[in-house]
Amino acid sequence: MKKFEKLKSRIVPLPIENIDTDQIIPARFLKATTREGFGDNLFRDWRFDSNNEPKQDFVMNDPTYTGRILVAGKNFGCGSSREHAAWAIQDYGFDVVISSFFADIFKGNALNNGVLPITVPEEFLEKIFAVTFANPEAEILVDLEAQTVTLAETGEQIEFEINPYKKSCLINGYDDIDFILSHTAEIENFEQTRPFSFYR
């Protein structure tokens, strides 16, 4: 997994609530059997019309806004468990997603792929949107070690929470499988203690 420590970037603002995984990557694009290439279809039906022409009014088609940080309204990533949503976001070029609230499964999927989901208070989210709409070149600084998000322009900073284990995974580029595999003896012991065969 890719390592993550710090990032300074402009942002792409998407002030919409309840963005579900069917918006992030519609099901009809889930037919691939590898992890690559999903970025082309990120937010497919918002980005392109039915003739596959870019929709001019969608923020990702507006060259004014660019960057490696996606900022979205609350309850981001609700809906299906498709990890393709995290892959699409990463493949498109985002390393961080900021929202005031994330759906559980999406958050886990993002972390498992080295995409950092950062939950910020509603007021701070509004501030990011306001600052960005006023100045699209405004930058944000993300420091994972310090667990801070800073608005470069104003210096306003907040701390964010992250599970310490997940934090070390991101910083070191480890994944959960490496961790669990180091406990196989315990897993085998555990299996011996099961009261009866749970399967067949």
Binding site: Q23, A103, Y165, I177, I180, L181, H183, Y199
Partner: protein
């Protein structure tokens, strides 16, 4: 202090709990399907690992399969490739596959219970968010991403933070024409599409207890639509009766042993939940959604809430949703014309759902303006429907009985609702484009869907029964 049911099952599956780390949780049963597994199998190959406990893994092909002419090779190339890949992977890694053509094939959350794989006290996962369905049996069941599918393949375990617990009680009895689907749509409309995030929900109360297993599955299925990790219901005689004698259920002595354990699976009286919500069944009428998330639901006779009545910060999203649906502030959904009716999905495609629809439509004809697709949840449901003559009733009514799969629930195969069309659907998600680009979905119960099929519009089914 006593324990909640979730805590009892969770604690019985913790391989290791370490300060500062998520728990290592043992997974009894892993269900897989063609869409979220190929990258996980690839990961195993890259690491040179086998599937650790292949006999605790079951596969089916459901999301991406056609629902007509399943005996023929899949037409669409990418879909065919994905399904073939599953077959190949299962063979290579020694996993039992109930694939296309197998008499047990079907939607993963329909076949688990139907085959007796789903049992109380188990931990079950699947790369699909509606894995919560299996919680109806008193299991901890939840959806996972593909990286986690790979983890379970490699270790039969997952790293998991213990969830918070919520109890949702529904007391009293339901009115005629109101069912399990209405209960869950009602709950989600009250607590919102994010109201359960971070929680594992236990459903309780007399209205829940009185439901059949099918009804309980419908309820638990949609737990994820309020953001919950999962939902479950303590097992009781209804549960045991349902499991008894099924293909892969414990038999003989093993049954007695299992039953003795299952009977200990309930939340202790003094157990503490992090949150408790209580609803009255009598307040629930047939429900319908008018927006683009499952929390945007109302009683079928009610008016669509106005944008002004929403919190200010949510108004732009709310407006966008109504715009997508082509609905106005404050208007009624009652009487709205319907183009498609879809009865299927892991929420409502079990034999009980089909029986209920058949009983209602017997001797009636579908309205001319609607197309009606009935998609059974599994080969076994399909066979049972034919055995009971339900297929004939549908045929006479002008309904199309298709073959098992996820179908128009997610618009991944060719079963898509055309742009701009209204579909009254028994599935679980009304997201933009869920049933096809620009399709407009209204989620309802099977009975309300049947009523829409017959009348060609949104109606209050209570007036027709």
């Amino acid at each position: 202090m006593g324990k909640t049911l979730v805590e009892k099952i969770w604690d019985a599956h913790v391989v290791k709990s370490q300060e500062g780390f998520p728990d290592i949780l043992y997974i009894d049963t892993h269900l897989i399907h063609e869409v979220t597994s190929p990258q996980a199998f690839d990961g195993l190959r890259k690491r040179g690992l086998p599937v650790y406990r292949p006999q605790q893994t079951v596969a089916t092909a459901d999301h991406n399969v056609p629902t007509l002419n399943q005996h023929l090779p899949i037409q669409e190339e990418l879909s065919r490739y994905q399904v073939d890949m599953l077959t190949k992977n299962c063979k290579e890694f020694g996993i039992e596959l109930y694939g296309l053509g197998h008499p047990y094939q079907g939607i993963v959350h329909v076949i688990g219970p139907e085959l007796g794989i789903t049992q109380p006290g188990k931990t079950m996962v699947c790369g699909d968010s509606h894995t919560s369905t299996h919680g109806a049996f008193g299991a901890i069941a939840f959806g996972i991403g593909t990286s986690q599918v790979e983890q379970v393949f490699a270790t039969q375990c997952l790293l998991q933070q213990k969830p918070k617990t919520m109890k949702i009680e529904v007391n009293g009895s339901l009115g005629a024409g109101v069912g399990a689907k209405d209960i869950i749509l009602y709950i989600i409309s009250k607590i919102s599409a994010a109201g359960g995030t971070g929680y594992f929900v236990e459903y309780a109360g007399s209205a829940i207890r009185s439901l059949s297993m099918e009804g309980r599955m419908t309820i638990c299925n949609m737990s994820i639509e309020m953001g919950a990790r999962g939902g479950l219901i303590a097992p009781d005689q209804t549960t045991f009766d349902y499991i008894y004698g099924r293909e892969l259920a414990p038999k003989g002595e093993k049954w007695d042993e299992a039953l003795a354990y299952w009977e200990t699976l309930y939340s202790d009286e003094d157990a503490q939940f992090d949150e408790v919500l209580v609803f009255e069944a009598a307040d629930i009428q047939p429900m319908i959604t008018y927006g683009t998330n499952p929390g945007m639901g109302i009683g079928v006779t009610e008016n669509i809430p106005t944008t002004a009545s929403q919190p200010e910060s949510e108004q732009p999203s709310y407006k966008k949703a109504l715009g997508y649906m082509g609905f106005q502030d404050g208007e009624k959904v009652l009487g709205k014309p319907v183009d498609y009716v879809f009865i299927g999905s892991c929420t409502n495609s079990r034999i009980e759902d089909l029986r209920q629809v058949a009983a209602f439509v017997q001797g009636k004809q579908k309205a001319e303006n609607v197309e009606v697709w009935i998609v059974p949840g599994s080969k076994q449901v399909e066979a049972q429907a034919k055995q009971e003559g339900i297929d004939k009733i549908f045929q006479e009514a002008g309904f199309m009985l298709r073959e098992p799969g996820c179908s128009a629930c997610l618009g991944m195969n060719e079963d898509k609702i055309p742009a701009g069309k209204y579909c009254v659907s028994t599935s679980n998600r009304n997201f933009e484009g869920r049933q096809g680009p620009n399709a407009r979905t209204m989620l309802v119960s099977p009975l309300t869907a049947a009523a829409a099929a017959i009348t060609g519009k949104v109606v209050d089914v209570r007036e027709l029964i």
